[in-house]
């Protein structure tokens, strides 16, 4: 039976200096997987900024594990002590957790699901890896649809974008005024733009007061993060602009320390002002929500991993079941042949009825043993049962 092997390292085990040694681009991952998959094996690499993992399906698990570890060590010899090795059930469970975002730095982050899909596409896969990756993607989607683990923002910039959606709904066509161009404000602007908003002006200093005041009458979101030591935007300026906005809402996000926006702006009607402390508190709260949801997600992942395990274990007994059914069918046909002299007197519909009855007897007789063997396989006794069936029914003796 094909075994599932995983060798890899992640942010839990290796610092970035080590992880970057084994990080792979798409082409390299594809080529390395193809090389590792020789000799009837299946292989694929999952490489993200937080992990590089090799999944191999092979007849001989220990040998495959050695080869996979060697492949990673060839990329960065120092990574060897930071490698983890898992097989079969544990390997599948790990992949399912990864796909669900439960092993990520930020629990529930959504990007990993796409990365698992890419790993599946780039790999040299066969029945086992196809199955485990498909089921991992299914588990990941299920976790996202049945829990709230991925719904809340996990960064200040994502929180700003989520707040904008709370105010405006769709951000398509909404305009942003960017005051200053710090890293966090750029991230926030990028987040908003990815949801359809547009930047209408980037102003870098207080000297552009007139342009800022002019833009305030029309923009929907203001993001401020200048390095100015005083206020860049006073409440009076915003109040003036509000008169020209005819009741349109304005979201202001102040990411600067010291603050750029007058706190009194938050008191104005139709203005929603958030500073860096507000956003950080929101992120802390949403991360704790994600952790709570992670408990529910773990249960979903465990159930999906169990389903995979049952399928995988049933592979142990599938050949024995197939042989048993073939033998039963052979006996049934032989006995019908023997009774040909009697059956010859029957008309066509009567013959078909006899055929159906005998086939039904065979099916009913074999149904319970088939189910029990699959159950035994899931409980790790599959090989014993398969051997017992082979012995009792004399299966495969002709070949021997």
């Amino acid at each position: 039976m094909m075994r599932l092997v995983l060798v890899g390292t992640s942010h839990h085990h290796a610092p970035v200096e080590l992880r970057e040694q084994v990080a792979l681009g798409r082409k390299d991952a594809e080529a390395l997987a193809a090389r590792l998959a020789g000799g009837g094996r299946e292989a694929t690499f999952l490489s993200t900024c937080n992990r590089t993992e090799v999944y191999v399906a092979a007849e001989h698990a220990d040998e495959a594990e050695r080869d996979a570890a060697a492949a990673l060590a060839s990329l960065g010899p120092e990574v060897e002590p930071a490698l983890y090795r898992l097989q079969d059930r544990a390997a599948a469970h790990h992949l399912f957790r990864v796909a669900a975002g439960l092993d990520s730095l930020v629990p529930g982050e959504g990007e990993i699901l796409g990365q698992v899909r890419v790993a599946h596409e780039l790999g040299t896969t066969g029945p086992l890896l196809d199955r485990v990756f498909s089921q991992a993607l299914h588990a990941g989607r299920k976790v996202r649809s049945q829990t709230a683990i991925g719904e809340s923002p996990a960064s200040v910039s994502a929180a700003a974008a989520a707040l904008a959606e709370q105010v405006f709904g769709s951000l398509d066509g909404r305009s942003i005024l960017l005051l200053g161009a710090g890293k966090v404000s750029e991230q926030a602007a990028r987040n908003l733009r990815s949801r359809g908003a547009e930047i209408s002006l980037v102003a870098n200093s207080r000297t552009e007061r007139e342009r800022i005041a002019e833009q305030l009458a029309s923009v929907d979101v203001v993001i401020a993060s200048t390095s100015a030591t005083g206020l860049v935007l006073e409440a009076d300026t915003v109040a003036d602009a509000l008169r020209r906005r005819r009741g349109r809402r304005l979201l202001l996000v102040d990411l600067a320390v010291p603050r750029d926006l007058d706190p009194a702006i938050g008191e104005l009607d139709g203005c929603y002002l958030y500073d860096i402390d507000d956003l950080e508190q929101i992120v802390v709260e949403t991360l704790s929500l994600r952790r709570r949801e992670a408990e529910r997600a773990e249960a979903i992942v465990a159930a999906e991993a169990e389903k995979f395990h049952e399928w995988h274990a049933s592979l142990d007994v599938v050949p024995a079941i197939a042989s048993l059914r073939a033998r039963a069918e052979e006996i049934r046909e032989a006995e019908l042949q023997k009774a040909e002299s009697l059956l010859g007197r029957l008309d066509e519909s009567q013959r078909r009825a006899v055929e159906a009855v005998t086939a039904q007897i065979v099916n009913k007789l074999l149904h319970l043993p088939t189910v029990r063997m699959k159950q035994a396989a899931a409980a790790a006794d599959g090989v014993l049962y398969a051997e017992a069936v082979r012995h009792l029914f004399g299966l495969g003796e002709d070949e021997r």
Partner: protein, 262 residues
């Protein structure tokens, strides 16, 4: 038969009200169960109205209690159009307890059983009662949306750390849905009221207090539309106006048994 349909409708609406409460505490399964409670309860109440209509040989809205039964059905129908979406579950917390309470009152007044045929014509019941109640159901929903708007806006301004914990409709969405609901409801009320006035004149009856309050309701919601579409009103101010209009709807509903059906 009516008994067999009333209780499932009431219990399912009740389950939905409790489910939405549970969804506030822990979003997820309780909310989904509540949504199914609304859907199945609505089906049961629809069947109840159909049975009443069949057995009474006409539309069973000839009493204040049976019209209340219809009013509940209309409110839940309007809510069902988009209210079952996940983001709008909190709206169910306003609408479903109201539906349960009003359905119980309708039953206490004998509006959910099989009665005798109404002395009003079917055409009059459909056009006058049907349209006016549909408009009131719309105003009720618009008021619920406006209430939600005010609550959500207050949260956005007070900036609690839990602001993003629950998926909520955006302020702009709540605002625009309330406007659209009122925009659909005002013409319905206009038409329903005109039919009622024509009948009033034809029979030589006099205006009563209820008609006056209904007229005031119509004026408030016309003002709402005018101020929003022409005066540039949005947000909190228009939400308060919708709530004021709804207060008049409540007065009309309370005054109904004492005036029109006295």
């Amino acid at each position: 038969m009516a008994e067999l349909l009333f209780w499932p409708a009431l219990l399912l609406y009740g389950e939905a009200a409790v489910g939405y409460l549970g969804d506030v505490r822990r979003p997820g399964r309780a909310g989904r169960a509540a949504t199914w409670g609304v859907r199945l309860g609505w089906l049961a109440q629809t069947a109840l109205l159909a049975v009443q209509a069949t057995r009474d040989d006409g539309f069973p809205w000839g009493t204040w209690a049976s019209s209340l039964d219809l009013f509940v059905w209309l409110v839940v129908s309007a809510y069902l159009i988009w209210g079952c979406r996940r983001r709008f579950r909190l709206l169910g917390l306003i609408v479903m307890p109201l539906a349960v309470t009003l359905l119980v009152v309708a039953r206490a007044g004998g509006g959910t059983g099989i009665g005798s045929a109404s002395h009003y014509s079917n055409l009059f019941l459909v056009v006058h009662v049907g349209l006016v109640l549909a408009a009131f159901a719309g105003f009720t929903l618009a008021a619920a949306l406006s209430g939600l708007y005010i609550w959500q806006e207050r949260r956005l301004q007070t900036r609690p750390a839990t602001i993003l914990r629950r998926q909520m409709p955006a302020l702009a969405t709540l605002d625009s849905l309330a406007l659209r609901t009122v925009a659909w409801s005002v013409p319905l009320l206009t038409l329903g009221a005109v039919v009622g006035l024509v009948r009033l004149v034809a029979r030589g009856d006099r205006l009563d207090a209820l008609i006056a309050v209904t007229g005031a309701t119509w004026l408030v919601f016309c003002a709402y539309l005018g101020l929003r579409l022409l005066g540039g009103w949005t947000g909190r101010r228009s939400a308060y106006l919708a709530l004021a209009g709804f207060a008049l709807v409540v007065v009309v509903r309370l005054a109904l048994p004492a005036s029109h059906f006295a």
